[in-house]
């Protein structure tokens, strides 16, 4: 087995950022979650969270939907199929790295 397999060089850099990986982890466990829940769980500021969500959306990993709950506006985020696959691969790579180092 080559040593390349044990390195983290090939991991998806969009996901490898700690906050983004947590966002994807949360979204992988549910159908959808809103901005407020992600804000509380990640502990990020509103601005930071927005930036991370935009990057994930640009990569096609999540879908952001602006909707209303009653009269209150709500930003709903959900993982796309591409995002789910990419996150699965990322977790496997991470596990392999941990197991072999």
């Amino acid at each position: 087995m080559s040593s390349e397999k044990y390195s983290l060089a090939g991991v998806d850099r969009t996901i490898h950022e700690p906050s983004r990986s947590i966002i994807l982890a949360i979204l992988s466990a549910v159908e959808s979650a809103d901005f407020l829940y992600l804000l509380r769980e990640t502990g990020l500021t509103k601005g930071n969270l927005s930036v991370h969500l935009s990057k994930l959306e640009e990569a096609g990993y999540i879908r952001i939907e602006k909707t209303y709950r009653g009269k209150i506006p709500m930003t709903l985020c959900r993982l796309t199929e591409t995002g789910r696959r990419a996150f699965g691969t990322y977790r496997e790579q991470l596990k392999m790295f941990v197991d072999n180092n």
């Binding site: 990986s21 982890a25 159908e31 979650a33 809103d34 709950r69 991470l94 596990k95």
Partner: protein
């Protein structure tokens, strides 16, 4: 990193059950099921009305839980919707738990059926209460462990105790069947009463547990103060 991801996934599972609204819903449904099973002397039209009211009650219980979540849970801490994947995926993931709980229930019930004076012939109530009760207990305990909500484990233990307590087999009503071709009315009455008692009791247990969870949740996550638009 992997630990942080796993803990984020576990937290979301905890979040869905910690607020107690699902227990309140379940409790209300079990309570209604208990009311359904109460052996009350009534005409068929009254029975029809009660059945209609019961169905409306079940729907109301489901809507009430959703209302509570939307009104009190999501505003302070955010909205989360469901578990991903199809029902088939979910069942395939949890089938060992379902099998284990059914097997446990049958294993515990079987010796009771074999002992002298246990249920015989058309005796179904003991089976229903014990099997359903133990199955639900294992399922509740599993949910408690999975979501890390300890009060669900307490509920599971109480449910198992109630299943044994309310089983007509333990009360020994069945020996009166022996030597008789027709089941005495009072035995049927007692079976129905115990079944109703069981479902009413677990309904109350779930509701109390859910109520405590809900109040604790509200205490820890007060509703955000609404900003009055002065324009």
């Amino acid at each position: 990193m992997n630990d942080r991801i796993s803990s984020a996934i576990k937290r979301i599972q905890h979040y869905q059950f910690e607020n107690g609204t699902y227990e309140l819903q379940t409790g209300l449904c079990f309570f209604l099921a208990g009311v359904f099973l109460l052996p009350l002397p009534m005409s068929s039209s009254t029975q029809g009305m009660i059945q209609g009211a019961g169905i409306a009650g079940f729907i109301l219980a489901l809507l009430l839980g959703e209302y509570f979540r939307r009104r009190f849970v999501y505003p302070p801490s955010g909205y989360v919707n469901g578990i991903p994947g199809t029902a088939k995926k979910r069942i395939s993931r949890f089938w060992p738990v379902f099998l284990l709980s059914i097997a446990t229930a049958i294993m515990i019930v079987s010796p009771i059926l074999l002992i002298d004076g246990g249920p015989a012939g058309d005796a179904g109530a003991a089976w229903v209460i014990l099997t359903t009760g133990l199955f639900l207990s294992v399922l509740t305990a599993f949910l408690g462990l999975q979501s890390r909500v300890p009060r669900l484990l307490v509920v599971a233990i109480i449910m198992a105790g109630l299943a044994i307590l309310f089983s007509p087999a333990i009360f020994g009503t069945r020996p009166y069947i022996y030597g008789s071709h027709q089941t005495p009315y009072w035995v049927i009455y007692a079976s129905q009463l115990f079944s109703a008692g069981y479902f009413l009791s677990i309904g109350v247990v779930f509701s109390i547990s859910g109520g405590i969870g809900f109040l604790n949740y509200l205490h820890a996550n007060p509703l955000p103060v609404e900003v009055v638009d002065e324009q």
